[in-house]
Symmetry: C2
Subunit: 118 residues, 2 copies
């Protein structure tokens, strides 16, 4: 089943290539549900260092952080999405769902090769 | 200026990760305007081998090729988009433009940090 995935491309002279795609969206979603960067990273089979680096990048893109960490140190405490973090994730999901709903018929009409599993 | 870029994700058990994103779309567009894979690759600062490998991948995803090469050998002859190639590129562009138009206001409301160049 073909579908559309999106990237929010945030043209930023200070951060070349700044964008929020499926990977960062999944990380934000994982933090929202797990309440922890370490748990979210584990669920995505991503290293903690990689997850932290993506969060740090996200937190520098907007006027406020998207993810807030609680006392207890980087690994010790929990983490949660800020109001802006929830809004950005909601916008990502909204655009993804809306785009897929609008173009579902055209995507289904693409003459894909029948695959071995069909 | 924030914007949305898209990937057409073509779930295909035979080709894990099969998708058409901005890179392949730009390559198809380059071939359409240059009439040559070599010229299109050059315009995108992409190696000829890389461009050929992307085209080969694209040509295996659908019931028909997206790019047809003319006699003269891989480097010798020209190349052009097939009817299906033009239709896939048009769909890619249509979804991109439609999505950006629909969500322009929400994207503009994201509280981006003022950058040094603003």
């Amino acid at each position: 089943m073909s579908r559309v995935s999106i990237r929010l491309v945030l043209d930023d002279p200070a951060v070349p290539g700044a964008a929020i795609g499926p990977g960062k969206a999944a990380l934000l979603r994982g933090i929202e549900s797990a309440g922890s960067i370490a748990q979210a990273a584990k669920g995505l089979r991503m290293s903690y260092a990689r997850a932290w680096s993506l969060i740090d990048e996200l937190n520098r893109l907007f006027t406020e952080k998207l993810v807030d960490t609680e006392t207890g140190g980087r690994k010790g405490g929990g983490a949660h999405l800020t109001e802006l973090g929830r809004a950005v994730l909601a916008l990502y999901d909204d655009i993804t769902n809306d785009t897929n709903a609008r173009h579902a018929d055209a995507l289904a009409r693409l003459p894909r090769k029948p695959s071995a599993n069909d």
